[in-house]
Symmetry: C2
Subunit: 358 residues, 2 copies
C-alpha cells in the first residue's frame, strides 16, 4: 500500500491533528477518548498502514511479548509436538515464540540463557541440558526472581527447586511397561537407559527396577545399558546386550530415538521385534504405526505437555504472584504386539500393575 516508511506515533498525531498521547490512548483503546477523535485517529492509522513499534512499546512498558523456548534437540519428534502445543497457546495469548536449540550442550545453554536475558523475554520454557552442575539451575532461579517466570519441561534441574514443572510420570510409565513384559513371561529383561544425569532417565530406570523387584525378578546389572539420548549409542547397547551369553528376551528402550537405534540393530541382524525379542519403547513414533510396524510404547502427549507448560507460563506472566505448580502428565501403555517373543509363555498369575490395582 503506502510507503509507510517513517510512520511513527508522532507523525500519526500530526496528521490526525491530535497529540501523541491521544494516539497512544487509541492504540491501547484505553481511557476515555471522544468517539469522533478516536475514529479520526484510527482512520489515519489504517490509511497510512501504521503499526506501532513493538520494540518501543517493550522498552516503555518494561516487558516484552516474546517467550523463549529452549530445547536440546530439534531433530527429536518429541519436541515437534511440544513446540506445536506451545505455539498454539502462545498465539492465543499474543505471545511470540523464540526458539533455541542447545544440542545437548551445557555450554551452549549458558550462552542461550545470556541471550535470553538480553532480549528481556517475558518467560522461559526449557528442557534443560545442564541439569547437574547447578549453573543452569541458578540462572533460571535468577530469572524467576527478577520477574521472568520459568517452566521446566520434561527434566528437573539441580538448583532449580521451586520452579514450575511439567513432567511425565516416567516412573509409573516404565513400571507399567516392564510389568507387562513380565506378564508376557519374560524374565531376562534389559533396559537401554540414557544419560544418567537426566531426571527422566533416572526415573524410568527406577520404574524398571521396581517392576522387577515387586515381581521377584532379579535385577542384573549386565542387563542395564547406559547410552545417551541418541539412536547410535542405543544401537551399540543393543549389540552388546545381544552378544551376552544369556541375552535378554526383552528390552525396554528409554526414549524414541533409542527405540529406533535398537530396532535398527535388530533389523540389520534379521530379527523381528515381537517375535525374536520383546521390545517396548518410551514415547510413541507415529510413523511406525502408520506403516504397520507394531511397536509397543509408553505414550505421553507431548502436545499436551507443551500446552500445559505454556498455560502455566501465561498464568505467571499475567500474575506475578501466581503460585508455583507442578504438573504431571500421565502416560499410557500402548500394546501392539512387540512386547511378546516366541518361546516366552505369558504368566498365568498376573503380576502387579499400579494402574489397575489402585
Amino acid at each position: 500500500m503506502s510507503i509507510a516508511s517513517k510512520m511513527n506515533i508522532r507523525e500519526i498525531a500530526r496528521l490526525a491533528g491530535v497529540s501523541v498521547a491521544t494516539v497512544s490512548r487509541v492504540i491501547n483503546n484505553s481511557e476515555s477518548v471522544k468517539p469522533a477523535t478516536r475514529e479520526r485517529v484510527q482512520a489515519v492509522m489504517t490509511e497510512n498502514n501504521y503499526v506501532p513499534s513493538a520494540t518501543a512499546r517493550d522498552l516503555s512498558f518494561q516487558r516484552s511479548e516474546v517467550v523463549a523456548v529452549v530445547v536440546p534437540d530439534l531433530k527429536n519428534p518429541f519436541f515437534y509436538g511440544l513446540i506445536e502445543g506451545i505455539t498454539r497457546v502462545a498465539e492465543k495469548n499474543h505471545y511470540q515464540v523464540l526458539i533455541f536449540n542447545t544440542n545437548e550442550d551445557a555450554q551452549k545453554e549458558y550462552q542461550v540463557l545470556e541471550t535470553i536475558r538480553q532480549r528481556n523475554a517475558a518467560g522461559i520454557l526449557i528442557t534443560a541440558t545442564g541439569v547437574r552442575d547447578g549453573h543452569t539451575g541458578a540462572m533460571l532461579k535468577e530469572f524467576q526472581a527478577s520477574g521472568t517466570p520459568v517452566v521446566l519441561i520434561d527434566r528437573f534441574v539441580e538448583g532449580g527447586e521451586g520452579l514450575d514443572t511439567v513432567m511425565a510420570d516416567n516412573e509409573a510409565g516404565s513400571y507399567e511397561a516392564v510389568c507387562e513384559l513380565i506378564r508376557q513371561g519374560h524374565e531376562r529383561i534389559a533396559i537401554i537407559a540414557g544419560e544418567k544425569t537426566l531426571s527422566p532417565v533416572y526415573e524410568r530406570e527406577l520404574g524398571y527396577r521396581r517392576a522387577l523387584t515387586e515381581n521377584g525378578v532379579k535385577i542384573r546389572s549386565m542387563y542395564i545399558a547406559y547410552g545417551n539420548q541418541m539412536a547410535d549409542r542405543s544401537y551399540s547397547c543393543m549389540k552388546r546386550l545381544l552378544s551376552l551369553s544369556k541375552p535378554p528376551t526383552a528390552v525396554f528402550c528409554g526414549n524414541n530415538q533409542m527405540s529406533l537405534g535398537a530396532l535398527r540393530y535388530l533389523i540389520e541382524n534379521g530379527m523381528v521385534a515381537g517375535k525374536d525379542i520383546g521390545i517396548v519403547g518410551f514415547d510413541d513414533i507415529d510413523v511406525l504405526n502408520d506403516v504397520g510396524i507394531p511397536l509397543s510404547v509408553v505414550d505421553r502427549s507431548e502436545k499436551e505437555m507443551g500446552r500445559k507448560a505454556m498455560e502455566m507460563l501465561v498464568r505467571h506472566m499475567k500474575d506475578r504472584d501466581a503460585q508455583s505448580a507442578h504438573v504431571s502428565v500421565p502416560t499410557r501403555l500402548i500394546l501392539r504386539g512387540s512386547e511378546k517373543a516366541d518361546g516366552v509363555e505369558p504368566r498365568t498369575r498376573k503380576p502387579g500393575n499400579r494402574r489397575r490395582d489402585t
Copy 2:
C-alpha cells in the same frame, strides 16, 4: 549471583566513575577508549552481572537481531530440518529465530506478517501459504522495499517476483523418479499430487508429465489424484486409485506426509510397496529406512535449504544493496526397491533421464 535487577548503562557508568558514553563504547568495543578505563568498566559490568538491553539497543539502532521464520506446518519433519539449518546459521551470525506457524491458512499468514512488522524483524524466511491471491506477495514485497529482506523457501508466491528464493528442483526430481518407474516397466503410473496452487506441487506434476510424454506413455487424468499436503487426503487418493478398474501399478507421491498416507492404505489392505505396487515418494523419511522399510524417494536436503536461505538473508541484512539471488537445491533419487512391482518387467531400452544424459 547479584541482584542485578535495576542494572542499566547509567548505573554501570556511575559505579565505574565514567560517563554512559564510555560504557557504551566499551560494550560495542568501538573507537578508542583507554585500556585502563576499559578494564575498569568491564570489571564493573561482570561484577554486576550486567547485560545491555537488546530492546533498547534495537530501538536506538533502528534495527533488530530477530529473524522471523514462517512455516505452514509444524508437524512436518521437513520443516524441522529446515529450521535446524536456519537456527544453526542464525546463531553463528548472532541472530535469533522467531517461529510462526500458519497451519496452511492464508488468513493466519496475514496476521503473522502484521505481527512481524510490529516486531521490526531484521529479515523474513517464509514458506508461504497464501501463494495465489497476491496479498501475501504484496506484503512481502513491501517488507523488502522498506528494508526488511525476504527469502522465499520451497514455494513461489504470486506477486513476490524478484524476492530471493531457495527452491528444490522439483521438476527434475519428479522427472527422474517417474523415468525410473518407467524403466522398471510400469506403464500405468499414477501421481498423488497436493494443493494445485502450490508451486512445488505444480512443478512435480510437470516433471511427472514430461517423463511420461518423453517416454511415450499416455497421460491419463484418472491417474492424477489431487489431495492436499496432508496424509489423510493422500490415503483417500490411494484408495480411489486402487479401486479403478485398471489400477496403476506404480504411484508417485508428492511429499513425505502423502507417502505415509499412501503407505498406510497399502498396509491396511495387506499390500507391500515394491511387490504388489511400485511406490516412489518425494522427500525422504529417515525413520522408515532405520526400521528397514525400503521406500524409494526423491531426496532433497532440507537442512541445506535452511542453511542456504539463512545465509542469503544474512547477506542482505548486512548489505542492503546485495543482489537478489535464486538458489536451486538439487534433488537426489534414492532407490531402495519400492519402485518395483511383481509382474512388471524392467524395460530393456532405457528411457531418458536428464541427469545422466547431460
